[in-house]
Symmetry: C2
Subunit: 421 residues, 2 copies
């Protein structure tokens, strides 16, 4: 992608009244645009990161037998009245059609998936099933804050699983927990599996996946010995109940959660199955969420320096940033341009390249490249051209390495194939 044609814009100033580092970095680097409190557009750079996160989530969920589908965002009021959450769900957006029909805007989908599964599940042969969607959720937050970490509208992956009994459900929930750990590690985060409350979903506990970050609005405790972690909402004691030592106190961002719903919603929506001896039994169910903009925000929040974002290779909008630096912007060096164009064409056959082909000053190009933060930067300048070389620099490292022109393709391939994120 030629930067001269790419839809983006960078800023020198932070967002007004915004303190979260990730929000300011993502705004200044042209990944997001703020429309209003808790409402954001994702520009092509941000969209690309979301898509890469989606791909990783899909791969891991498909591996554990989950099937993708798409549920409605408009929920008939009666479904929420039936579950008792029309009144009790504190961030529910409610609206009315011109025909006076009332809807909720889906903040979660138990009220839709359980009636659907009631039509599909009849016998024990129809179990277990796991199904997920990646869809926009709406939550009428009183205080939207921390940029894209808590918004009124956000992409969420929500997975639901259905089982014959609690053992089968717990075994599957454990698989999901493991898949979540793999997902978060792949996108460049260090997830902390945390015991938390069940909210309106279950009277039992839930599992949260937290990422340590100052901007995080959750406070969690973690035992330095057994590494168990718990949210302050379940116990405000900073002493590990098992090891009897003082726990670390950590500010953290919740990027995912997994719930054993038990038979709560199956009772409400009468979701039952016939077992193999002719008895009718309630279906056991779990639900599992990942907020995609939260993940994106947590990556930016924990991968940056004073110059900008440092994207992990796995989710970067483009893996490689190619810059051509003209010493004279009014009279450009045609030979340098030709070599840069050829390098862009050659490398584009291997991988998507962001190519800064603009007639902008070198200082501005280099500063913007650091701000956007693509993992590998290649620079062509008059100086490197004279030596038939290209500058290689990884965003996360300081060192600049000069590579002969003829080795560039091989070096790029080697770098792309390295497991190093």
């Amino acid at each position: 992608m030629r930067q001269s044609e790419f839809l983006y814009k960078t800023y020198k100033e932070n967002l007004q009244e915004e303190t979260a580092k990730s929000a300011n970095l993502l705004f200044r680097a042209g990944f997001i645009e703020k429309v209003g409190a808790g409402i954001y557009n994702f520009l092509p750079l941000g969209f690309r990161v979301l898509e890469n996160i989606k791909t990783i989530i899909r791969q891991e969920l498909n591996k554990i037998g989950a099937q993708e589908f798409l549920l409605t965002a408009l929920h008939p009021k009666e479904n929420w009245v039936k579950s008792g959450r029309w009144e009790s769900f504190d961030v529910l957006f409610r609206l009315k059609s011109q025909l006076e029909k009332e809807y909720a805007l889906g903040p979660t989908h138990e009220e839709i998936i359980f009636p659907l599964m009631k039509k599909i599940i009849q016998s024990y042969r129809d179990l277990p099933r796991a199904v997920y969607q990646i869809q926009t959720k709406f939550r009428d937050e009183l205080r939207a804050k921390s940029g894209i970490l808590r918004t009124r509208e956000f992409l969420m992956k929500d997975l639901y699983s259905f089982h014959r009994d609690n053992d089968d459900l717990e075994a599957y929930k454990n698989k999901v927990d493991q898949a979540y750990l793999r997902i978060f590690k792949q996108v460049g985060l260090e997830p902390i599996k945390t015991k938390a409350s069940g909210g309106t979903f279950t009277s039992g506990f839930s599992t949260e996946f937290q990422v340590a970050a100052e901007a995080g609005e959750d406070l969690i405790y973690r035992c330095p010995v057994c590494r168990e972690a718990w949210n302050e909402e379940v116990s405000q004691s900073n002493r590990c109940p098992r090891c009897q030592v003082e726990a670390e106190t950590i500010n953290a961002i919740e990027v995912g959660n997994t719930f054993n719903l038990g038979v709560k919603f199956s009772e409400i929506f009468n979701l039952v199955y016939n077992d193999n001896v002719g008895q009718t039994e309630l279906v056991w169910a779990g639900c599992y969420g990942i907020g995609l903009p939260r993940v994106l925000g947590a990556i930016a929040e924990t991968n940056n320096d004073d110059k900008g974002i440092i994207w992990p290779k796995s989710v970067a909008p483009f893996p490689i940033h190619l810059l051509v630096l003209y010493s004279n912007q009014t009279k450009i060096d045609q030979k340098l341009k030709l070599v840069a164009e050829k390098l862009y064409q050659t490398l584009s056959l291997e991988v998507e390249i962001l190519y800064d082909d603009r007639l902008t000053s070198s200082a501005e190009k280099l500063a913007e490249a650091d701000l956007i933060g693509l993992p590998l930067r290649l620079v062509l300048s008059q100086k490197s051209l004279e030596k038939n070389q290209v500058e290689f620099k990884e965003r996360k490292k300081q060192k600049i390495i000069l590579k002969p022109w003829r080795e560039v393709k091989t070096e790029v391939r080697r770098w792309l194939n390295s497991s190093n994120n």
Copy 2:
């Protein structure tokens, strides 16, 4: 995918009070579930078709330089007041937050994209730009009807383009029109490019892409000589103004549209650029939509027989349906099972297979396969096993062809690579 584990359900009966063939076929074959009037869930089968349509759209739009991003679905009221469409847009869903902040639910995105582009476009160097999203749109239809052809919530691809002048805009609109024709042909439709009114988007004409179908709610005329077509809303005369012959009258489904917006929204949102001689000029813009469930519905509406749907290969949820037919369901033939399992494993390395591994009667399996309508059906039975053969049948043809076991993989590859949709 093993059918015994696949999330789907077929029905013998049509939807209640539904006359559209596509809605009934898609419901009975387990592609969609109706939640309420104009509100549908897409089950894995339906979701997979939507994803395939998305892939084709993305390929064609990327080819004409459009970049993908994602805008907000919640629109601040003030944006719609500014455009004058808060009151005039007849199917606008309006809602209020608990903080009494008012929003529209995006039925289209001019009110969001123009303020965004105002931040990005400054000079003639920032033009042209084309950007699109694939996102859920909300429309408060008085009469949701014809199943997924007119709904209150639907996935839409909306593309917006920005230009220095009308010539550049018209040239790009022509590129989009050509891309649309390619998209609709690839998904198995026969698009009719049709002159139509501009609605609330422009005082000029728009271009619609229509598909002939009885369930279509549009009435269009097409000249049998020059092949020009127009919507009755622009001229109710069934006489071609150019050729002076009687036009065909066609019921049709509108699957896409393209608009030259002129400078209408640029004036409202003050979207201007500095040209290369220091003058400030208004930006010329176009918008271009494709309704994905409409496309899916139009395909089902025009590709079926009395047994069910006939999916084009390009968008089918799975290209191949493998059935194993047991003559005795209570005492299954272990050798037949072994061969079927091996065939499933082998073919799954080539392509995604839906494998009916259930202990269901042959008649039921065959009827369900026809109803779901995957393009190629492979059948293994006691009879074919004895001859070391596999039955090949294309859904759109009557003929069953027997192929020796050892040729199956080659035959499947040949079929997959054939351009035949």
